[in-house]
């Protein structure tokens, strides 16, 4: 990047610097590493970036989008402040939605944006009165089991000005079917609905959850994407969530590579289902971790933008630039939060937010300080939202896009993470690709090993966590913990029983559930059918979550992989 004369000057200055260092510290090396284990030096200089190819960095909005996906970033549009929340009955959740709106939480432009998390019971496809629910009804998410629940949650909202993230986890396609029917009945056609489904049926790769088996999972995800691409072009179909990799113990390099491996596998599955890359890639989104090592995570996000653009253009022949721009939702690290001295977590999450803003993410969830103890209280949620707002209005960081570009350190670390993640991705592909490595448990073991090393370093005191293994406080200050209304489970059980007794439409429902079964079989038969229209009919016929999920599980298979 630098001309010969300048490099000569640099070398001269570097010699002087090295001599000073040697005089002061001798030859003892500094054993410095990033949190993810990448060896680093105490000082970087022009010589560290002289071989960089400026084309790989470019300007924001230019391929390969290392510096950001748009030419203007926060100057034109702040990041979407998306606090993930959900608990109790739909009414409890709605109360929180209104509270968040009152605190100033907004989406793009005039849109209201809600990131709603459903409870474990409906996520895994059970109705609240099923004994398998493990007493988890409404505890860490909202229970949404019937069409009536959508009315309880959303009534009075203008759906054309509302963007929802329906985080029913594995079964987010069912949440979408309900949402479509709710919209229909409010006079809002599905084409006008805005929001996001998780569609992350690959989630079992990092944990042995109950799940559709890998082959079925990729058939379901790609079939869903095909239907959405052709019927709801504005709907964001898929969340490539590599946040989980980081939360399960992965290093930034592992997170970046695993995200790309998922995207590649899913892109291939969608192409097998008959789609062209530009028909569906623009509606993929990412959810990326904002970890504690600030420069490493900024570099990781810059590296991921470059990798995704390059893979989609060069490997899959994408032509539309939207197929190369990672729309990046992000979340501050939850694994770094401590139950000890929980107020210190406010500081950790604020540094995470700084990572997000320095990286130019498009959306951000800032964890509340009490999330190592329970779901957030009104107060802790308010502080999380204020953290967004202080970052946006007071710090000045959003004024300049990718302000760390050109930093000797950040540019060389970005390059290094790209290289290392490429190598790791290559390893995954040599082992048969993402799906194969999910089946064999290789990815899961890799994450477990990283997690083990991380915790070992903490236990040995090599890695300091303030308040946990150093500077523990003798003063135990009691933190208020949010308690979900104890009546929730009984309320939800009473409601579902009442619903089944009074909903009518018996014949329609029987037919719709039978059609769903045939449609699911058609999906497995090389995508000869789409399952979404059948699910929508089931929702119209007042089926419950479990009635639909039972059919899907019976055809696609269900259980733990390991």
């Amino acid at each position: 990047m630098l001309d010969k004369k300048t490099m000569e000057q640099v070398e001269e200055l570097k010699k002087g610097f090295d001599a000073q260092m040697k005089k002061r510290y001798g030859d003892k090396p500094f054993d410095l590493k990033t949190d993810g284990g990448i060896p680093i030096k105490p000082v970087y200089g022009p010589d560290d970036v002289q071989d960089l190819n400026f084309k790989n960095i470019a300007y924001p909005g230019q391929y390969p989008f290392t510096r950001g996906i748009y030419p203007t970033m926060y100057q034109a549009q702040p990041w979407v402040m998306q606090q993930i929340h959900g608990h109790g009955t739909p009414e409890h959740c709605r109360e929180r939605m209104d509270y968040l709106a009152q605190l100033g939480l907004t989406g793009y432009g005039e849109m209201r944006s809600y990131n709603l998390v459903f409870d474990q019971v409906c996520k895994f496809g059970y109705d609240p009165d099923n004994p398998e629910n493990g007493d988890m009804v409404g505890l860490v998410g909202v229970n949404m089991s019937t069409l009536d629940d959508y009315d309880r949650l959303l009534n009075g909202l203008d759906l054309t000005k509302t963007s929802v993230v329906l985080n029913q986890g594995i079964h987010s396609m069912i949440a979408l079917a309900f949402y479509i029917v709710y919209g229909e009945e409010q006079g809002v056609p599905k084409e006008k609905l805005r929001g996001n489904t998780m569609n992350w049926l690959f989630k079992g790769w990092m944990s042995d959850l109950e799940m559709y088996p890998p082959d079925s999972a990729f058939m379901i995800m790609s079939n869903f994407i095909r239907w959405c691409s052709r019927n709801m072009p504005k709907w964001n179909t898929t969340n490539i969530v590599s946040y989980f990799a980081e939360e399960a113990g992965g290093t930034p390099v592992q997170e970046a590579a695993m995200a790309m491996a998922i995207s590649i596998e899913l892109t291939k599955a969608c192409m097998d289902a008959g789609l062209e890359p530009d028909e569906f890639l623009p509606r993929f989104g990412f959810q990326i971790a904002l970890g504690m090592d600030i420069f490493e995570h900024v570099s990781k996000i810059r590296a991921m933008r470059r990798m995704w653009a390059t893979i989609n253009k060069e490997r899959f022949g994408a032509k539309d630039k939207h197929s190369m721009q990672i729309r990046c939702h992000s979340q501050t690290s939850a694994v770094s939060l401590t139950a000890q001295q929980p107020y210190v977590n406010i500081i950790r999450s604020a540094y995470g937010a700084l990572v997000g803003v320095l990286s130019g993410v498009n959306g951000m969830t800032i964890n509340a300080y009490d999330e190592a103890l329970g779901i957030p209280t009104d107060e802790s949620l308010m502080l999380a939202i204020r953290t967004h707002q202080v970052a946006l209005y007071e710090t000045g960081v959003p004024n300049v896009t990718d302000p760390l570009a050109g930093s000797y350190y950040v540019e060389s670390l970005t390059e290094k993470i790209c290289e290392e993640a490429d190598k790791y991705l290559d390893k995954i592909e040599k082992l048969g690709g993402f799906k194969k490595c999910w089946e064999t448990g290789w990815l899961r073991e890799e994450l477990a090993n990283s997690s083990y090393e991380w915790r070992r370093r903490i236990d040995k005191g090599e890695k300091v966590v303030v308040g946990l293994n150093k500077h523990r406080s003798e003063v135990h200050r009691k933190t208020q913990i949010y308690k979900v209304d104890p009546e929730v489970k009984e309320t939800c059980i009473a409601r579902i029983k009442e619903y089944r007794a009074t909903r009518g439409k018996e014949k329609e429902r029987e037919q719709a559930l039978a059609d769903l079964k045939v449609a699911c079989q058609g999906v497995l038969d090389n995508h000869k059918a789409d399952f979404m229209p059948a699910l929508i009919d089931c929702a119209r016929a007042r089926s419950t979550v479990q009635e639909m999920c039972d059919v899907m599980k019976s055809i696609f298979g269900w259980g733990t992989v390991y």
Binding site: G134, L209, E210, L373, S451, D459, V484
Partner: protein, 124 residues
């Protein structure tokens, strides 16, 4: 040692770490996933373990502990040591103690603490 976590709870990082540390300390460890807590009681009976550990990160620990202790009584394995861990609010500890949960290892506990506790109790 039987360690288990619900199949509906993704947060298994802690319990997997604990299992590995226990193995390294010379314990025999079975790490499993359960649907109903009944499966844990059945597995404890079948495998004839000395200690049962259940990890909870999404709540439901008090109700599940109550049922587990009741089932253990019914199966005649009420004497076995039971520990729980994960996201356990301090306020719930008295209720768990009342249910004869022997040890509670919430967020921030080290594997060494749990191992020491078990060794002291089992070898006592």
């Amino acid at each position: 040692m039987l360690l288990s976590k619900s199949r509906m709870d993704v947060h298994d990082r802690g319990v997997r770490y604990l299992a590995r540390c226990m193995l390294e300390s010379g314990m025999e460890v079975i790490l499993s996933r359960h649907g109903l807590i009944d499966e844990v009681a059945n597995a404890a009976l079948q495998e004839d373990v000395d200690v049962i550990g259940v990890s909870f990160s999404v709540g439901g620990h008090v109700a599940a502990s109550e049922r587990l202790r009741k089932l253990m009584q019914e199966k005649g394995i009420g004497e076995k040591l039971v520990i729980v861990g994960g996201i356990i609010p301090d306020d719930d500890i008295p209720a768990l103690k009342k249910l004869d949960i022997d040890g509670v290892f919430g967020a921030g506990s080290s594997a060494a603490e749990a191992i020491e506790f078990i060794n002291a109790k089992v070898n006592a």
